[in-house]
Point group: C2
Chain length 437, copies 2
């Protein structure tokens, strides 16, 4: 099956907005093994839409259209489609009643202009929309099927799951499922793309390049896997690929098969252990605390943090001696260690993280260029403060992001190496006991 | 002049990437008053690209194509264009020499495959590309002009400024500049879209709806203005619109004609006054500190902050009495005020901001539902602590974002109302002196 996507709306031809609805539709098409041959965007121009539809339905089996189903004069998808197919449009009084009812349930009266949204093209199946006023439509023309969807993302989402997916399910069930694609995802933190590519070489050899795609962003690598075939084949292929990549990439994989963030994975590990953490940040300015508290329920493991930008804050809130700052420098390993240990012991948490560095653009020196950061993680075992020094590339925001990413990754690896606390055990394992130093 | 954009690349038909190059091209087209009639994306399919080009150049004056100029077998834009126009392709040895030279300057040898990038379509003007190996091309076919650009964003950027803009300049100079568009932007914080729409009614009346577009996101409204005509007319129109909207929207406008963030505007005001600020955050978890320190040079005005998630942190770091928390509740006006005043006086800054609230999804009650926040800003005048209570809609991240936005906006309005410190004055003005209570 071959498909095309058409997004309608003059606002999508401006300088600020892109048609992101197509990504959602593409994901569904991929899952059902439908080939997407092209996407296009057209303004609210009836003749242009009609021409595009006529041209496309001559060459594809499935035409997905979003937008232009609103109540105003510039919503012309219905009339353009009717023109392209040479069909009549009539107002369906049942649909009018449903729209009126929707307004009433919100305590409002339906405006007369909303009757436009009840215009139905001859032969169309109406796709009910309980998340908005505009119903969608499904039409058959020759060998092609056309879906008209509203452009509002959550309404589109709703119509996809209630109307498009069941239809694709039925179509592909009839024609066999051999072409369906199933996907899986592995995420890795704080490794370079070239390092991952090198480690994956045996997997490329074994499975080919096509089913494995590596996407890199600062501090994070995503490995997307795809498998075709029958449901059992797809599952087996994905599992084989995942197992092989786990062996190759080792503990750098922080999550599999879910799009969880690194902070969410750290949160799960802290929850597992009933462990708590506090933060002492300089150059990241609160970003680490902010990420740790993005996760709902973070008050269970996060007690608080200090953003110690000035030396006075470092001294008064973290107990770091002025002498240490003067001799070692504010951006140094001893200060990062003292920040981690200071925040941990002063505020009574199991772990403490200290970060100091130069995010730029100013403040760099030859010895400590912009991008230099020191990260320390102090744990329940006083002797086992982990420390990393890095020089990150990129601008201020990228340096800060990568620093917070590495801090979370250091904590994740420490937590991962700990033996999960069993309910019977009287004490939490220390880092020394588990060897995670 | 009517234009269409075609982006080529199978990766742009996947689930993760969008054609963002078109936004950059659209901005240029708008500036020169060229109407964009449609955009499309096609995979690396020679026949499909050729068909799309043939169709488009029959209806537009300007066809902008990006991508598919690389050296590998799936880069088929050159051959597809030659097919569509019925022209020959030859390898241009001068271009080969230039590519070879580029590799040499990087200390590398040109691979044989790169000769493909020297393929030139008969009649094409070669668009030199000093930022990459693939040159672009400009072709005339009937009344249409076709530009072929590489898809790599910084190479495209380079070719736009060196080749496309001068060409458009020449075209529009010949045909008069009446159709060019000039734009301006105003940004407002912490006002609702409907409120802005209502306030803008007289501006719509006076200038029409078309040149004024309102874009809303949580906690921020952008008003985009557009003016056509001669350079002098455009400037006069924009200035008249800006002045009128400033009158209507009042002090809610935090920046004009630049895309500065709210934190950058606050930073400028703090710098102007030589004032300092510290933060005490609960539900925002460090987001406010993080935003204040996104701005380069923030150590000049930001000394530090406390993320006081647990009551113990609030007591020990901010000096808030356990009794107050017990009687008023952790999420309350008195606690927010005490946090603001506590962080300000304890750590010796001019301003202190206190935030406490329920970001959700858990923790809400009937009296204090999810989204309830208290924000307090303490200034140099001890009696003048400003406080706001709000209930923000949306999920955890939106509640946190809007809270940080309102905190920054409160501080901005206080700073804005202060008389700028003159270098002669011995003392900074207090809030009472400027009446900004």
């Amino acid at each position: 099956m071959r498909a095309a996507i058409l997004a309608i709306g003059s606002e999508l031809l401006g300088t600020t907005r892109l048609d992101t609805n197509s990504l959602r539709l593409t994901a569904v098409l991929e899952r059902y093994g439908v080939e997407l041959v092209g996407k296009s965007v057209i303004g609210d121009d009836e003749a242009a839409i009609a021409a595009e539809l006529e041209r496309r339905i001559a060459t594809v089996d499935l035409m997905l259209v979003t937008g232009g189903l609103g109540p105003t004069a510039d919503d012309v998808t219905r009339s353009a489609t009717a023109t392209a197919l040479g069909r009549e449009i009539t107002v369906d009084e049942e649909v009018v009643a449903a729209i009126r009812q929707r307004f009433a349930s919100l305590g409002r009266r339906m405006a007369e202009v909303n009757r436009r949204q009840a215009e139905v093209i001859a032969g169309a199946e109406i796709l009910t929309n309980t998340h908005g006023t505009a119903p969608g439509m499904r039409l058959e023309e020759g060998t092609a099927t056309i879906f008209l969807f509203p452009g509002v993302p959550h309404e589109l989402e709703h119509l996809i799951s209630v109307h498009l997916e069941p239809w694709l399910e039925a179509q592909t069930a009839a024609s066999g499922t051999a072409e369906r694609v199933e996907r899986s995802l592995l995420k890795l933190a704080c490794v370079s793309e070239s390092d991952v590519e090198q480690r994956l070489a045996p997997a490329y050899e074994r499975f080919g390049r096509d089913p494995i795609a590596v996407l890199a962003s600062p501090g994070e690598i995503q490995i997307h896997l795809a498998a075709r075939g029958s449901p059992a084949e797809r599952r087996a292929k994905l599992e084989a690929m995942r197992r092989h990549i786990r062996e190759l990439a080792g503990e750098a994989v922080f999550v599999e098969d879910r799009d969880d963030t690194l902070e969410a994975v750290v949160a799960t590990l802290l929850d597992r252990d009933g462990a708590t953490v506090s933060t002492a940040e300089s150059c990241t300015g609160g970003l680490l605390a902010e990420r740790l508290t993005r996760v709902p329920g973070s008050s269970g493991y996060f007690h608080g943090g200090v953003v110690a930008y000035s030396n006075e804050f470092k001294t008064r809130l973290l107990g770091i001696s002025e002498e240490l700052i003067a001799t070692a420098g504010a951006v140094s390993e001893p200060v990062a260690r003292a920040m981690a240990q200071g925040v941990r012991t002063r505020y009574g948490t199991d772990f403490g993280i200290g970060i100091t560095g130069i995010a730029g653009p100013g403040g760099g020196t030859d010895a400590k260029p912009v991008g230099t950061v020191h990260i320390a993680v102090a744990g329940p075992d006083d002797d086992a403060i982990e420390h990393r020094r890095r020089r990150f590339p990129g601008d201020r925001q990228r340096v800060r992001w990568q620093t917070s990413q590495l801090a979370l990754e250091m904590l994740r690896r420490i937590l991962r190496a700990r033996v999960p606390r069993s309910p019977e055990a009287g004490e939490k394992p220390t880092m020394a006991q588990t060897g995670a130093t």
